[in-house]
């Protein structure tokens, strides 16, 4: 009986492996950065307590119910401030607690009352905010970026109440919402100064969460800037976690390892910024410090002396976001009748030195106080050119259109260069020629048109080529780089759909716009995003031409469609079918087949029973050839067979043999014409070879469309600076009409589809594909 059981098992294995095999070749790699970008600071992760917030009126801690006794006796000013914590307790020694302290202080000073609600579950955000709103509170503070959406929603529902979102960047300014955000680079700068002063070895290090998060990069660059400003000869080791957002902040082992490496390279001050990853670095440094060779570490966000006991042996200070100070200031302004909307940049500072107060020389402490004040007042800039607002005075409002990492306005001084980002795979087996070919196309456009003219003034144009490796991760990294570079006006790229998919949301957040010469995934333009445009046709582009040919040229009104389950096949059958039905045709049978199957006679018999005039197949050569051939077995040798560029290859004719004769296939026509010939000549002269891949022409056109749009939206300000609004730029690209491109006359639609190509229908005749229109 033993082996009988085994068969059950084996059958399962077989089924599973078949399922896998069936999925395998069709799976399209779509990088999906699903993790919410975690902020540098760890969101308080205190376990939610089981019981409901109960009323415990004490002097220290107010009640959880907003309706119960106020903590701070109000002098009838009518000011009621409510605070909704992120999931966790209000005395978490971290964000919630510091925010609560700020609220309490403000309420005390202004004679109002203050209450808080501890959020037990992330689904309760809205309900907790509503609790305050419905009970007559005038100011509601929500803590942590996780509450951002609920806060905006509530602000719309309660326009009379002012909301303050701690660590919630406001992309769009609502009049009654203030985001309390911080200049991380300033905090990092202070840490850098401290590190440089404390280092004996002349080497300091920073261990960070991923560089995909601009705030982390700001901490790092600020730290470097501060250290170098203090000691120009200092060696700063900067290491970012190489992983994605899902692991970058929760990898203490990596943090410890990286800190150990830095210490082995002689670093004696370690700055750890990046949630648990940073904590790992701090703890490791604490473990390795000795009396002979003292090591120091610097924490981040809040005073980590309070939160990370393990780091006490080395923790000299923390680069803090001063939440209470910022909150108090905002509340004061609101009460004064001048509520700051948009974003309020809260001050940053170093935490107390605690046990190291004696170890840090008094003059260093003084220096730090001075620098902090200078940074706050704007007297001193960190010199870090990342993101928006860090050079602005803390109280200044961010522009309403500003996005997470940059404003939408690019200002270019007279004579300066208009810089376009360019992203493609410039290395890597198989993809490098494609990327190099695209870069050459873009360069040739610039060679031909090296300047743009706005208001009669010429500005030179250049591209900043970056290698995105044709991968999702690479695309995201390059996108972050461009998004944080204020000089970038727009982006030409990316090259691969995976890379485009990953980069798009980054550009969207930064109000940047991209024109891709080769990303063809249909999904890219389906979500109404302003960031993504393309000048390449999608797979479905041939649909209308094919439908027109079937209906009008062949005069067939009944077709059967077959696709192979691939995104290409499904998309194409959808596009052709829709167009065909729109013309008045009828789809009598819609079938799908499995890639790799060999016998399609069963399904062909079914198709034959519906008596179609043509079989339309969207797929590739192997299945197409079998279908074309086996249709004779179902008595359909005289029924037309038509496919698309997936089958328009010599291999199809070879594989289908006699059955290929008379098969139709639509396909984009290779470029030709005088303009293209001239382009090829220029290409060959410049690079010593003919184009090495197919996408040079689209890259060339992408640059052209971009430059036209820039000229359209660019304006000169009073000082002669070129001012470009990147949001307007994106709209201008989509307004492109009849741009004379190499690939045809380009007209963009509202979704950013600008591609054009000549599509022709070919027929297999005597072993060759022959154009039907050339006859």
């Amino acid at each position: 009986m033993q082996h009988r059981k085994m068969f059950w098992l084996l059958s399962l294995v077989v089924i599973a492996s078949l399922a896998l095999a069936a999925c395998g070749p069709q799976a399209t790699p779509t990088p999906t950065p699903t993790e919410e970008p975690a902020a540098v600071e760890e969101t308080p992760t205190v376990e939610p307590t089981v019981e409901e917030p109960t009323a415990e009126p004490t002097a220290e801690e107010p009640t959880a119910e907003p309706t119960t006794e106020p903590t701070v006796e109000a002098a009838a000013a009518g000011l009621k401030i409510g605070l909704v914590t992120d999931v966790g307790e209000v005395d978490d020694r971290s964000f919630n607690q510091s925010a609560w302290e700020g609220v309490q202080a403000a309420a005390a000073a202004l004679g109002g009352e203050a209450s808080y609600i501890e959020t037990q579950d992330s689904t309760d955000y809205a309900a907790n905010i509503a609790e305050f709103a419905d009970n007559g509170y005038n100011i509601i503070v929500t803590v942590g970026f996780a509450l951002g959406e609920a806060t905006i929603q509530a602000a719309a529902d309660y326009p009379d109440i002012h909301f303050i979102g701690v660590d919630q960047y406001q992309g769009e300014a609502l009049p009654n919402v203030t985001g309390l955000v911080f200049n991380e680079d300033q905090a990092g700068y202070l840490a850098g100064v401290l590190a440089a002063r404390m280092s004996q070895t002349g080497t300091v290090a920073g261990v960070y969460g991923t560089d995909l998060i601009p705030a982390v990069v700001l901490f790092a660059r600020g730290y470097e800037a501060g250290a170098l400003a203090t000691n120009p000869d200092i060696n700063v080791i900067t290491t970012f976690h190489p992983g994605g957002l899902d692991v970058a902040f929760t990898d203490p082992e990596w943090g410890a390892q990286t800190a150990a490496q830095a210490i082995d390279q002689n670093a004696d001050v370690i700055f750890g910024a990046g949630g648990k990853t940073g904590n790992g670095a701090l703890t490791e440094t604490a473990n390795r410090t000795t009396a002979d060779k003292p090591l120091y570490c610097i924490g981040v966000d809040t005073d980590q002396w309070e939160t990370l006991d393990e780091a006490h042996p080395c923790l000299i200070s923390s680069a803090m976001k001063l939440i209470p100070v910022g909150l108090e200031a905002i509340i004061n302004q609101i009460v004064a009748g001048e509520p700051p909307s948009g974003n309020y940049y809260g001050p940053v500072g170093l935490a107390s030195f605690h046990d190291f107060a004696d170890a840090v020389p008094a003059e260093v402490q003084e220096e730090l106080t001075t620098i902090a004040a200078q940074l706050t007042s704007g007297e001193l800039a960190t010199g870090v050119t990342l993101g928006g607002g860090e050079a602005e005075a803390p109280t200044e409002e961010a522009p309403a259109e500003a996005a997470a990492t940059g404003t939408s306005i690019v200002t270019i001084a007279p004579g300066d260069t208009v810089l376009l980002g360019f992203s493609a795979a410039l290395s890597g087996e198989g993809v490098e020629p494609l990327g190099v070919d695209e870069r050459r196309g873009a360069e040739l456009k610039l060679a031909e048109r090296p300047t743009i003219t706005v208001g009669g003034v010429e500005f030179p144009v250049a591209i900043d080529p970056q290698d995105d490796l044709c991968s999702g991760e690479g695309g995201q990294t390059v996108a972050n780089r461009f998004a944080s570079d204020e000089r970038i006006v727009g982006v030409i790229g990316h090259m691969c759909s995976s890379s485009c998919t990953a980069a798009k949301p980054v550009y969207e957040a930064a109000n940047l716009t991209m024109i891709s010469p080769s990303c063809t995934a249909p999904s890219l333009t389906e979500d109404g995003s302003l960031a993504f445009n393309r000048v390449v046709i999608t797979d479905a582009f041939q649909g209308p031409t094919a439908a027109n040919f079937i209906f009008n040229t062949l005069g067939v009104t009944r077709i059967a469609t077959i696709h192979d389950g691939s995104p290409y096949g499904e998309g194409l059958v959808g596009a052709t079918g829709d167009a065909f039905v729109a013309l008045g045709g009828e789809i009598v049978s819609a079938q799908a087949i499995n890639v790799g199957a060999t016998d399609f006679r069963g399904v062909l018999e079914e198709i034959a029973s519906t008596d179609p005039g043509l079989i339309y197949f969207a797929g590739f050569v192997a299945e197409g050839a079998k279908l074309a051939e086996q249709r004779a077995d179902a008595g359909m040798q005289d029924v037309y067979f038509m496919g698309a560029d997936g089958i328009k290859a010599p291999e199809f004719i070879e594989a289908a043999g006699d059955a290929a004769e008379g098969v139709y296939a639509s396909s984009p026509v290779p470029l030709s014409g005088d303009a293209y010939d001239a382009f090829i000549a220029a290409y060959t002269e410049a690079y010593g070879e003919a184009p090495i891949a197919p996408y040079h022409a689209t890259a060339y056109d992408a640059v052209g469309v971009m430059l036209d749009a820039i000229e359209k939206v660019g304006t000169l300000d009073a000082d002669g600076n070129l001012v470009i609004d990147r949001v307007a730029l994106s709209q201008a690209i989509r307004a492109t009409k009849d741009y004379p491109g190499l690939t045809g006359s380009l007209t963009c639609d509202a979704n950013g589809e600008c591609g054009n190509a000549l599509v022709d229908v070919f027929v297999a005749q005597n072993g060759n594909w022959v154009s039907t229109s050339a006859e």
Partner: protein
């Protein structure tokens, strides 16, 4: 009157009892219940499609025909699985690649003969040569496989040769990709005409004199009136079907009626005792592999004459289906493999249209059938032939 009533009662009792027993068995094993429900749903679905006129008899006959042809190929490959399993109790997962190897190497033979025109002049001889080349190639691959990959592991736990077989399967597939590339090779269109005197087909009238080539057994398609419907009949369907039956019968004869077969059965029953009786166990096992591989090679050429495109990965899907067919029919059982193959081929061709299910789910249907059959008949349609000593 009394006796009549008693009779009626006696007659009805067994039925009620049977019903009760059936009910109890369902309660005992919920999976039987699930299986019954699924079958009921399938029947209702099929009936409603037929009654609504969405599935008619003509389509059924046509699909049955192509399903039988495809099933015959499965059956031929399944025989190899079942044979090796019946003797050695191991699943030779590389059997699909043995099938592929013969077909692929056979291509070079037929391609060469096609290019020189030999194929057209001496079609029968050419076909025989191709079959021979394919069979010899398959046999060589299988015997090498047995010697290198299986024999050293004969006394290892049962999972070990299974994993080796999967490894060997991948190795062979990749080796062929490496040697010959992954693009498809295409068998030529073969026209093999027989009996021009009987079948007045493929006729050409030249100057009023009509010459007929006869029936094209391989590539011909002829309309046929049949029970009031017209179908396009391809004689090759019949050829494949008959070939499968004939080979199955031969195999059955060898195993059951010859001395070699007796030795095989003895080895299956007890290797140690068989060797004590003077049976050369190694050579019996090699013979088993040779027989299975020869069938696979022949099946491969039939497959290629029919579907024409051959690729190094072509063995995977038919191999898997054939293995399924072997289990369906009752593994170790020679007629069972054939029945399982036909059944699977027919279900694949008929079920999507009959049940109005997307054709892409044909594999789901095929393997769903496997599960259903195993629920009700855990040892397959015809049952396993259990030569192993059983408790």
């Amino acid at each position: 009157m009394v006796s009549q009533e008693a009779n009626a009662l006696r007659r009805s009792e067994p039925f009620i009892e049977r019903l009760q027993r059936f009910g109890k068995s369902m309660l005992r094993s919920p999976i039987t219940l699930v299986g019954t429900i699924i079958i009921a749903v399938i029947i209702v679905q099929a009936l409603s499609n037929i009654l609504q006129g969405e599935y008619d008899f003509e389509l059924f006959v046509k699909q049955l025909m192509v399903g039988l042809a495809q099933g015959s190929i499965y059956a031929l490959v399944a025989l190899g699985y079942t044979l090796v399993y019946g003797i050695l109790f191991m699943i030779n997962f590389a059997h699909g690649e043995v099938f592929m190897a013969g077909t692929y190497i056979g291509f070079f033979a037929i391609d060469a003969m096609n290019k020189t025109g030999f194929l057209e002049q001496h079609t029968l001889l050419s076909l025989l040569i191709v079959f021979l080349v394919a069979i010899v190639s398959s046999v060589l691959v299988a015997v090498t496989l047995e010697r290198i990959a299986y024999r050293p592991l004969r006394n290892a736990p049962r999972l070990v040769p299974l994993i080796t077989a999967i490894g060997a399967s991948t190795f062979l597939q990749r080796a062929f990709v490496g040697l010959f590339g992954s693009s498809p090779r295409v068998y030529p269109n073969v026209h093999f005409y027989i009996l021009p005197q009987v079948f007045h087909l493929e006729c050409n009238a030249v100057d009023g004199v009509e010459t007929c080539l006869g029936m094209d057994l391989v590539s011909g398609r002829y309309p046929l009136q049949f029970l009031g419907i017209e179908i396009l009949f391809r004689p090759f369907y019949l050829v494949v079907f008959l070939a499968a039956i004939a080979m199955m019968a031969t195999l059955w004869y060898i195993v059951r009626r010859t001395k070699t077969g007796k030795a095989m059965r003895a080895v299956a029953e007890d290797k140690a005792t068989a060797s004590l009786m003077g049976i050369n166990v190694d050579s019996v096992i090699v013979t088993t592999f040779v027989l299975g591989a020869a069938l696979a090679g022949a099946a491969g050429v039939l497959f290629a004459l029919y579907n024409r495109q051959v690729v190094p990965t072509m063995g995977f899907a038919p191999g898997l289906k054939a293995f399924t067919a072997a289990v369906l029919g009752g593994i170790g059982n020679i007629p069972g493999a054939a029945v399982g193959g036909f059944f699977l081929g027919i279900v694949e061709a008929v079920a999507p249209s009959l049940l109005n299910i997307p054709n892409q789910l044909e594999n789901v249907i095929a393997f769903g059938m496997l599960v259903l059959v195993l629920i009700f008949r855990p040892s397959g349609i015809l049952g396993e032939v259990l030569t192993e000593k059983k408790a």
